[in-house]
Structures are given as structure tokens and as C-alpha cells.
């Protein structure tokens, strides 16, 4: 019956789309055409469930940005293959076959780097038709083994990133729906690769051997037919194969639990870097023996030879991604791809050389320092997985042990039963989350750190309440031998210190992300100043508690006040904070004074008041009461009466310089801290000079204005005085 009706309707015969039981397709085009004429402008035919707003989200067919089904060249992957888009072998001519294989390898490297940088697998690595149909390449040992190891590598990298579970970069990275990542036998990829490498090594030896020996080796079939080029091509292939092999080893070694494979990984990393150097240097040979490439756009080429690779089509599997087509992306150039991998390997090497410091403070310093080089997602995911495994630090230190050590408690405390208390368990989880967040990218990190402040505050309150319930008021308990009391007291103090540290990171990251406009620097430095004061207070108390415990064990006699005063030195960590406090205070007052005396270059913001902007920036801190009793009004009070004349008399920058100098002697074996202190000194010096200049000359020359730039330090600005 459908067939009878089909003859009447104008649906082409090839359509096998059923219209349902007992129904047929009726052509309604003429009806629609006439009905449309009767509609008013803007009138719609719709049902009761129609919602204009929802209808706006409809995908528009034939719009290239919304319709991923638009036919480009081929209707499907199979059609592309049938039309020779990915031939196996690539060419009957062995030389051309080798050239093209190398081009494919290079383009895959560029695609892989592009993927790592934040694009989808489908558009990058899996735009390779050879990878989409794994079985087709089995007759071509070189291509087959290479594809296998690429798939295995991608799978390993996806595993690391998805295990880190930070869900940044929109999960684009781990999306692999419908892509053949689980090739049959890919785990044996290395043995296949080794076999191919062995063959090519012998071919290399054969072509380099003197002619007398060549007769013996003649049973060895050469790689390709042009004897002059044999050595060059063998070498080019070998370094590429070896790079892949060692890179795969790096990934598997680094995944070994509790950091057991780090030393081995470093060896593989070193080999990878040297093979990448060989790969880079092979481009001269490959370009010269390639057929007819122009010099135009050579920098953008995705292969060493400059030729277009065979067998790639990004549009073929775009249907596999979401209904909407992915944004058009540009594959990184081959040169940039190599640079990316060199940087990635260097970042991984830093992770592998980490000493697995059991002190939490050491871990935090390491992560903050590591992040300064702006490592990419893959490196950061590896770091996170090294730090946090099975809910423990490095997979072996329980969080409670880590916390008791950080809170300067004696070793015996780490096994105390109180760790089973629900609040200590929660605290442990909070520390784990903090470590994970510190490994993410700056924007994500700042957002999460800000939200976390509330959690840290709440856990403090909960711990304090639990303590009071057990032992009464915190202050009324004398420092006695009861370990449980000690644990609570130390940890409470440590929790406060951590909270302020996170608050300071939150504020500082705002500079890195350029979230503050110059007219807001004054309030930001002021907030940094109040937070750092609290942080140094808590750090100092914590270290004093440590000294107390140490002293009581050693000395039996009462110390004379003189001895105590002489022996007591401000701990270096506190000194470090103090010079930053002076710098922050100095900048706050200088900015306030300049603003009060109208000498600052600043753009007017007509949209909201200073108070509104204060709340917008510090809302999360204010809500968590970090610190307590701090508000916009306290900020105004501190800065309304700032004047250049008073600042010159009491120069915070000079204090900063003095303290920084003093601190340097304590950090002589910490190059990062020394570098930081040197930068602080430079900022202090330049600002001190600027302050003097502007206060003396400013009154006489009204065109003199100050602007602030980050020329010596990433977040402490240097004043630049110039005529406007």
C-alpha cells in the first residue's frame, strides 16, 4: 500500500524512510505555499507548547556554524576511502611512500599538540583516516605500528586527564565518542614499533657500510629505492619512531603509583628531548628531497618537508561530535608543535625531579613555583595525580599525618585516634581539594579558591566547637601534656594560617589574570596588606609554638630575659611575609596619596561606585569574614588622609628593602626565594625613588603624573613618573 501511495507522492524512490503503520507520505508543499500567502507578517503557525525563546535555540540547517551534516567533499569515511583519500600503501614508489609516511607522522605530531592545547580529538589527531580504520594499515608495518602507538598514547593521556577530574577546558579534551581509541592489540604497540625500528636500523647500517660489506647485507631490502637518500630517510624515520617509543614510556612510568617511576621517566624524557632535536634537524633534508614546495607560508606548514600530508580530513567525523559542528580550528605548525612538546617534556621533568617533600608547606611552594612557568593541561594533570593518590599525599602519607606535621605537632600525634573525628576527616578532604585546585589553570583555580574560603572558615568553626565541647574554652586550657588538646590547638591555628594563605593566593591571582583595573589597585593592595598581616601573625604564632616545645625539652633552668631576647630571631618565613606587607602597605598609601592629590593617571568609571567595586572584588572574602571586622569603611578610613608629604617621612618602601635584605641571608640555598626577594627589593627601590621625585617636583609641575606597571614583579607594581 505504501508503494501505491509512493508513486503519487514526490518522495524519491531511494528514500527508505518509513512513515509509520498504515500511513503514507503526503506532499504538503502546495498547501504550505498557499497558506503562507494568507499569513500576516510575523504571524506563526504553532501549537500550545510553542515557546519563542526555546525556538530560538533550534539548530539552523545549512548554517555552517550550526549544521555539522553539511556535505563537504565526501558523504562518509567509507566513501572517502573508496575514492582513494587514504591509500595503503600510500604509493607504489617506495621513496614516495616513505616521504608521505613521514609527512603523516609530522602532521600527527602537529595535531597531537593542537589537541593538547585544548581542542577536540576528533578534529585533530582523529582527522587522520588511517587512525579511523585501524585494520586497514596492517599490511604497512611502519604506518601500522605508528598508528598503534599514537592511539595508545592518546588513550594514556586521556586517562591521566580524566583521572585528574578537574573538568576544566570544557571536557573537550577527553571527548572521544565514537572514536576508535581501543584498538585491538594496541598494548603490544611497543613490540611492533621495536620490530620496525630494528628493521630500519639494519637498513641504515646497510647503506652506510662500505661497498665490500654491502654484498653480504644485500639480502636486506632497502627502505626505499633512491640510494642517495637512504641514509637521510632512515635517520628521519628512526628519530620519529624513537621519540614515540620513549614518550609512551614517559607516560607509563609517570603513572606508576607513589612516584616510583619518576627517575626512569626522567631518562626517557631526556631521550625524547634529544630525539625531538633530531626530528627538528631532519627538516632540511626532508625539504630538499621533497617534490616542489614553494617557500610561501613555510612557517605554517604542519610537516617537516613542507608538503601536505595524505589521508587527513577533519570534516569526515564531525558528525561524531555534538549536533553542532565544532569551531574551525587551525592545526599548530610543525615547528610550534615541536616547541610545545619540548616545553611539555621540560615541565614533566620538573615534576619528575621533585623530591616528594613530606611537608605540606614544601608541596604548596613547589606547586606555586611550578605554575609560574604556565604549564599546560597534560603536565598539570600529571602533577595532580602525583600529589594526590588514593586520598593520600603521594599515595603514602595520610592527610592527618600531613596536617599534624604542618601544624608543627610532634610525630606521635599523627597516629592519634582523634583523626577519626568527622571534622578532621573533612579537613583532610579539604586539603586534598586544595591541592587539586592548585594544579588547575589560573582562572579556574582562582574561582575555586575563592569559593573554598567559606569551607575553610566553616571547618574552623566546627573544629573550635568540637574542641570547646570536649575541653571547655580554648584560652583557659594551659599548655599541658595532653596530646589531644595540643592537636586541637595547633590545628586550629594552622587552619587559620591556611585560610589566609588561600585568601592571599586568591587576591594575587587577580593580578595574573588582569582582573583589576589600575583605579582598583589601591583597594586590592590594601586587602592584600590586611590579609598578609593576619597570615604572618598566624605563621609567627605557629613557629613560636614550635620553639616553645623545643625549648621546654632542652632547658631546665629559667632563662634570663636577656638570653631569650638575644636568642629570639624572627623566622625567615615571617620576614618574607613582612617585607611583602611593607610593600603592599607602601603601594596602598602611595596610590591613595596620589589619588587624594590628583596626581594619578586614572580612567573614570561611570558605571559603579568605589564601594560597589570593593564588594564585587572582595565579596567572597567578606562573606567568609576573612579577615574579621574589615570593610569598605575601614579601607576608606585608612586611606582618606594619605598624603605624599607624610609618606616621605615614613617610607614603607625603605622598610621593605631593609627586611628583604635581612631575609636574603636566611634563604641562601633557595634560589626561587632569593629571586623573589631581589624582585621585591627592586620594586621597593624604584617606588621609593618615584615617591621622592613626585613629592618634591610634583607640587611645582602639575603635568607630572604617576602610572603603575609590573616591570619588576608580577604583582607588586612599580610607579612610573612622567609628564602627561
Amino acid at each position: 500500500m505504501a508503494d501505491d501511495a509512493a508513486a503519487e507522492v514526490s518522495v524519491p524512490e531511494r528514500t527508505s524512510i518509513p512513515s509509520g503503520d498504515d500511513s503514507v507520505w503526503a506532499d504538503v508543499s502546495p498547501l504550505f505555499e498557499s497558506a503562507c500567502k494568507d499569513l500576516q507578517d510575523g504571524e506563526l503557525i504553532h501549537g500550545d507548547n510553542f515557546n519563542l525563546f526555546a525556538a530560538m535555540s533550534a539548530l539552523e540547517i545549512m548554517d555552517p556554524k550550526m549544521d555539522s551534516g553539511i556535505v563537504c567533499k565526501y558523504y562518509s569515511i567509507d566513501e572517502a576511502i573508496e575514492n582513494g583519500a587514504a591509500p595503503v600503501p600510500i604509493s607504489i614508489n617506495k621513496t614516495v611512500d616513505v616521504q608521505c609516511t613521514i609527512d603523516i607522522m609530522d602532521h600527527l605530531l602537529a595535531c597531537e599538540a593542537t589537541w593538547h592545547k585544548g581542542h577536540s580529538l576528533a578534529q585533530t589527531v582523529f582527522s587522520c583516516i588511517y587512525l579511523l580504520r585501524p585494520d586497514r594499515t596492517s599490511s604497512h608495518a611502519l604506518l601500522h605500528s605508528y598508528c598503534r602507538v599514537i592511539r595508545a598514547t592518546c588513550k594514556a593521556v586521556i586517562s591521566v586527564v580524566s583521572d585528574a577530574r578537574t573538568h576544566e577546558e570544557d571536557d573537550l579534551f577527553t571527548m572521544a565518542y565514537g572514536l576508535p581509541l581501543d584498538g585491538d592489540g594496541d598494548e603490544k604497540c611497543l613490540s611492533l614499533l621495536n620490530a620496525v625500528e630494528e628493521t630500519i636500523s639494519r637498513q641504515l647500517r646497510a647503506c652506510k657500510a662500505p661497498s665490500s660489506r654491502r654484498r653480504v647485507l644485500e639480502e636486506m631490502e632497502p627502505l626505499q629505492t633512491n640510494l642517495d637518500l637512504e641514509e637521510g630517510y632512515c635517520k628521519a624515520l628512526l628519530c620519529r619512531l624513537r621519540f614515540r617509543k620513549h614518550f609512551y614510556h614517559v607516560l607509563t612510568s609517570m603513572r606508576r603509583p607513589q612516584g616510583r617511576g619518576l627517575e626512569l621517566a626522567r631518562k626517557h624524557i631526556a631521550t625524547c628531548i634529544s630525539e625531538l632535536d633530531c626530528i627538528y634537524r631532519s627538516s632540511d633534508f626532508l625539504r630538499s628531497s621533497a617534490c616542489g614546495t614553494s617557500e610561501d607560508g613555510i612557517e605554517d606548514r604542519t610537516t617537516a618537508s613542507g608538503c601536505q600530508p595524505i589521508g587527513f580530513d577533519a570534516s569526515l567525523n564531525c558528525r561524531l561530535s555534538a549536533p553542532t559542528p565544532p569551531r574551525a580550528i587551525k592545526i599548530l605548525s610543525w615547528k610550534k608543535a615541536i616547541e610545545y612538546f619540548v616545553k611539555l617534556l621540560h615541565d614533566l621533568d620538573i615534576i619528575c625531579s621533585y623530591s616528594l617533600d613530606p611537608s605540606l608547606e614544601g608541596v604548596l611552594q613547589f606547586v606555586v613555583q611550578f605554575q609560574k612557568s604556565q604549564p599546560d593541561l597534560v603536565a598539570r594533570a600529571h602533577l595532580q595525580l602525583l600529589l594526590v593518590q588514593d586520598g593520600k599525599l603521594y599515595g603514602r602519607e595520610s592527610m592527618f599525618a600531613v596536617i599534624t606535621r604542618a601544624a608543627v605537632l610532634p610525630e606521635v600525634a599523627k597516629n592519634h585516634d582523634v583523626q577519626k573525628n568527622e571534622y578532621f576527616v573533612q579537613l583532610g578532604q579539604l586539603v586534598i581539594n586544595t591541592l587539586k585546585i592548585l594544579c588547575t589553570n589560573a582562572a579556574w583555580q582562582r574561582r575555586k579558591l575563592g569559593k573554598m574560603l567559606q569551607d575553610w572558615r566553616v571547618i574552623y568553626v566546627q573544629l573550635e566547637l568540637a574542641f570547646r565541647k570536649e575541653f571547655g574554652e580554648v584560652s583557659s586550657i594551659p599548655e599541658d601534656e595532653n596530646v589531644c588538646v595540643k592537636i586541637f590547638q595547633h590545628i586550629l591555628l594552622w587552619v587559620e594560617e591556611q585560610t589566609y594563605w588561600i585568601a592571599s593566593r586568591f587576591l594575587i591571582l587577580g593580578f595574573e589574570l588582569e582582573l583589576y583595573s589600575p583605579s582598583e589597585y589601591c583597594m586590592v593592595y590594601w586587602y592584600i596588606y590586611v590579609v598578609l598581616i593576619k597570615l604572618s601573625e598566624k605563621t609567627h604564632l605557629k613557629m613560636a609554638a614550635k620553639n616553645d616545645t623545643g625549648k621546654r625539652k632542652g632547658k631546665k633552668k629559667r632563662d634570663s630575659p636577656k638570653d631569650v631576647a638575644r636568642e629570639y630571631r624572627i623566622p625567615p618565613a615571617v620576614l618574607f611575609l613582612q617585607c611583602q606587607i611593607c610593600l603592599a602597605e607602601g603601594l596602598t598609601m602611595m596610590l591613595a596619596a596620589l589619588r587624594n592629590e590628583h596626581m594619578i593617571l586614572q580612567s573614570r568609571n561611570p558605571f559603579n561606585t568605589e564601594q560597589e567595586r570593593f564588594f564585587q572584588h572582595f565579596e567572597l572574602l567578606q562573606k567568609a569574614c576573612i579577615p574579621d571586622h574589615v570593610s569598605f569603611h575601614s579601607f576608606r578610613e585608612s586611606t582618606t588622609y594619605a598624603r605624599l608629604s607624610t609618606l616621605v617621612m615614613y617610607n614603607y618602601f625603605k622598610d621593605a628593602q631593609r627586611i628583604a635584605k635581612e631575609a636574603k641571608s636566611s634563604f641562601s640555598n633557595d634560589p626561587h626565594k632569593l629571586a623573589e626577594l631581589r624582585k621585591i627589593e627592586q620594586v621597593a627601590e624604584h617606588n621609593s625613588i618615584a615617591l621622592h621625585v613626585i613629592s618634591r617636583v610634583g607640587a611645582l609641575d602639575p603635568t607630572l603624573k604617576a602610572s603603575f606597571e609590573f616591570s619588576h614583579h608580577p604583582y607588586f607594581a612599580t610607579a612610573v613618573v612622567k609628564r602627561s
Binding site: 501511495a5 503519487e8 503514507v24 503526503a26 498557499s34 503562507c36 494568507d38 525556538a55 535555540s57 558528525r319
Partner: protein, 112 residues
Amino acid sequence: MELEAEKTLIQAESSDGPNSNSSDLVARVRKLLFRQMLVGIRDGRFFLGTFHCMDKQGNIILQDAVEYHSTRRSSTSPMEQRCLGLILLPSSCRSSCHVGCYIEEQLSLLKL
């Protein structure tokens, strides 16, 4: 009887405010809402979905649409399908438009 049916339809529509002067043709199209509709477009693809909306220009919105596309350029190739959800088919790219209906209805639909 048909006239009465049409009158009731028109009266029913008059409660929609600006649609009070909708013609018989528009009413008939309105009756097709929520039916299965098969729209063919110029590049050879077909979209099957529930008829959701149409405007004066003849642009159509289908709900829970499925795209049918052939895997080869030739006409006798198997079709693959994928789900798209809510889609808009501009009249400019539309090459055919069919509604699933019973054979008896077919004649009344075709007649203008």
C-alpha cells in the same frame, strides 16, 4: 458539514487574538501540527520530526528531528541517521515536504 467544521475551526481560532482572520488554508496547516513531517533539502538529506512551527516565509521548525543522510554520492546507498533535536529548516534550502497521514486524509490534504 464541512462548512460548519470550518466555522468551528475559525471560531476556535478567533480566541487567539490576531489570528481571528486566519484562512481555511492556515487552519488546515494548523491541523498538521505535531504530526510526523519529512523534509528533504537540496543537498539530498532528509529530516524527520514533529511539525512544530511555520512562518510566513515558509521556514519550518521540527521537534525531535532525525537527520537521514546517505553514505555515498550515488542514489542507491544505505542511509545513516542521527538525532538532532529542535531544528529550523529555512525555506530556501527545502526541496520537499511531506506529512505522514492516512490514505483517506491524503486526498483532502492534497486538494487546495
